[in-house]
């Protein structure tokens, strides 16, 4: 997983009119890595991915993708990148097989028929090969979209929210597939809103308002955030939550089913704050594990503060 960098860019910026959508963005993605791309809606994930594959021209920035210059050699990059768009973007009125054949032709592939059959088999699409893409359910569409972007054997996959609206089983299958591809040496950059998916990535980056806030392996990000979390169970959660929320040292109180997650950036301050409640009868306190979500929500509120 170490060694050559597949994506190495820095200083990337892109504005649409007055809006700075991507601001001074840089990442390094090593070969064979599954790199998760997270951030709230409108944070610039799709835009960043489009910058990387040459669909948008950055206002500023430089770097390489697969060893080619991201500004001047986009044609070469396009040959070796598979890009799966956020919105389904294949032809509804073509069948699965025809769509793949079409994509094959766009990449000017030789022995197209064999490649198509091979890809259909790999993704278990053989039985439905004649079905029109427009009539597929969401999960199958995603599978077809993945098929169409791995068919030309790219070295880098850019997947933009590939599993939005897909059932858990299909998502799991999808991610198993992604791991298999990564084992084969593909590098994968994937954007998602699902925390469980983020946890299946080797590394993640979190962006908000076009700024890269943190990046690194999931464990490191959680540990590095320094956030401590306790969970408490008991009656009358609503009033308890509002009481806890006002304490200094408590940054966030979130309801999770029957329990509340109470977290704070400073572990010692948090413990002092909740000490009186720990001896209150009827409440059970356990030390909780800080989730990636807690970290992100924390980062988000910080980012909002910075903006304001």
């Amino acid at each position: 997983m170490n060694g050559e960098l597949v994506i190495d860019v820095e200083g990337m910026s892109k504005s649409f009119g007055p809006h700075k959508v991507v601001n001074n963005f840089g990442i390094q993605v090593p070969k064979g890595c599954i790199y998760g791309f997270l951030g709230p809606n409108g944070s610039g994930k799709t835009t960043t991915i489009r910058l990387l594959c040459g669909l948008l021209t950055p206002d500023a920035g430089s770097g390489t993708c697969l060893g080619y210059d991201v500004i001047h050699e986009t044609d070469l990059i396009k040959r070796q990148v598979g890009y799966m768009t956020q919105r389904f973007s294949l032809y509804d009125d073509l069948s699965i097989e025809e769509n793949l054949t079409f994509v094959g032709r766009m990449y000017g592939m030789a022995d197209r028929a064999a490649k198509v059959t091979d890809t259909l088999e790999r993704l278990g699409l053989v039985a439905r090969r004649k079905q029109l893409a427009g009539t597929l359910s969401g999960g199958w569409k995603q599978r077809l979209a993945l098929a169409s972007c791995i068919m030309h054997a790219p070295k880098l996959l850019l997947l933009d929210e590939p599993t939005a609206g897909v059932d858990p089983q299909a998502r799991r299958d999808f991610w198993d597939q992604i791991h298999i591809l990564a084992d084969q040496g593909l590098t994968i950059l994937v954007s998602t809103h699902y925390m469980d998916e983020a946890e299946r990535c080797h590394q993640i980056a979190y962006i908000a308002y076009g700024e890269l806030l943190v990046h690194g392996p999931v464990g490191e990000i959680v540990a590095g955030s320094g956030i401590a979390t306790w969970s408490v169970e008991g009656k009358d959660q609503i009033s308890l939550a509002s009481e806890l929320r006002h304490l200094t040292g408590v940054d966030r109180v979130t309801a999770f089913g029957r329990s509340l997650h109470v977290s704070g950036i400073d572990a010692a301050a948090l413990e002092t704050a909740i000490a009186p409640y720990q001896i209150r009868p009827g409440l059970t306190w356990t030390r909780g594990e800080t989730s990636l979500e807690d970290v992100f929500i924390h980062l988000m509120s910080q980012a909002t503060d910075n903006i304001q």
Binding site: G54, L55, L56, Y83, S89, L90
Partner: protein, 358 residues
């Protein structure tokens, strides 16, 4: 609709523009028709006859051909609408009171274009000659006119309008379907989101354009085949020239229209706009090309405008080949123009076609 400014602008602007354009441009009574005069008689009479032609608004002397062959060629390529033959002994016969004949050959492919002018010709001749017939010759001024006008309608002897309309329709149908189909082709990709995938692949703009255009060329040929069959068996349109030549010219014409459609599709934001642009192109093509109204009936500026549209040139070629039996040399100039149009439109399309999403 408020959001879609371009659509709105086109909905208001286009009708106004077209109203002005066509209101001024269209005139079903053509004037200034080009005439070739072949005069073998250098007399006072023939000179004043020619002068009278010049002075009438209906005619414009474009050429004095030396030989029959040359006169024939001028008529065939459509450089002139009439050839007027003044025979050698015209004035002598005239003075003898023998009512010599004046031979007028008319390009009658479009019967409407020439009918008024022909009617004037007789009147004009009488007046001009009567003026000269004074003194002792006054007696010859009598009604029946001093000469006999022999009109020879070439290419469409019976003046059947269908002969002119049906081949023209081929051009019109092709323009309409080809421009609309391609202008929707790329816009549809953008609207459906498939453009994003397409742009992410390494295909070049030229490849996309060829990919979009070639299938429609085939569609165009199917249409042409149907129209030709109908023309022959239902309307009995003569087919003088080579159909092979026609089909070669068709490639250029169809491709030119497709390139226009492709250009529109790179300019339009959505299918509605593409459709509007296609109509914006189609209407003037139809009205200014000489299909609906005689081309020479329009004021000069409108004729210049009309020359821009490939349909104008195609009409000349298709009528030339089918009705006049034009060969390669006769249609080369018009075809060359269509090719030029094709090149310009494709270049524009290539420049406009964006390889990125921004």
């Amino acid at each position: 609709m408020r959001r879609d400014r371009l659509t709105f602008a086109m909905m208001v602007g286009v009708p106004v523009m077209q109203l002005l354009l066509f209101g001024f441009a269209i005139n079903a009574d053509p004037r200034g028709l080009p005439v070739a005069v072949m005069s073998a008689d250098q007399s006072e009479f023939s000179r004043s006859f020619v002068a009278a032609l010049e002075n009438s608004e209906y005619f414009r002397i474009a050429n004095y051909p030396e030989t029959e062959v040359e006169a024939d060629r001028l008529l065939r390529v459509g450089a002139v609408q009439f050839v007027i033959n003044i025979p050698e002994d015209f004035s002598r016969e005239l003075m003898r009171g023998a009512r010599p004949s004046l031979l007028v050959e008319v390009d009658a492919t479009d019967p409407a274009a020439a009918s008024n002018a022909l009617a004037t010709l007789q009147v004009l001749g009488n007046r001009a000659l009567n003026h000269d017939l004074d003194g002792p010759l006054q007696d010859l001024r009598a009604t029946p006119p001093p000469f006999e006008l022999v009109v020879h309608r070439r290419y469409n002897e019976e003046g059947i309008t269908q002969y002119n309309i049906v081949p023209g329709l081929m051009g019109v149908v092709l323009t309409m379907t080809m421009v609309i189909m391609t202008s929707l082709a790329v816009t549809r990709e953008t609207e459906r989101g498939t453009m994003e995938s397409l742009l992410a692949t390494p295909v070049t703009p030229l490849e996309v354009m060829i990919g979009k255009i070639v299938p429609y060329i085939l569609v165009g040929y199917v249409q042409v085949a149907l129209i030709l069959i109908a023309a022959k068996f239902i309307f009995g349109v003569p087919m003088e020239g080579s159909l092979l030549l026609l089909s070669l010219v068709l490639i250029v014409f169809v491709a030119a229209n497709l390139a226009v459609g492709f250009t529109f599709s790179t300019l339009a934001g959505n299918q509605l706009q593409a459709m509007q642009m296609a109509f914006f192109f189609f209407l003037p093509s139809l009205l200014l090309s000489g299909f609906m109204f005689p081309f020479r009936g329009m004021p000069l500026w409108a004729q210049w405008l009309g020359e821009v549209f490939p349909l104008t040139h195609f009409l000349r070629v298709v009528r030339g080949i089918l009705l006049k039996g034009n060969g390669v040399a006769d249609i080369a100039a018009e075809t060359g123009y269509m090719a030029l149009f094709l090149i310009v439109a494709s270049t524009l399309a290539m420049l406009r076609y964006r390889r990125t999403l921004d």
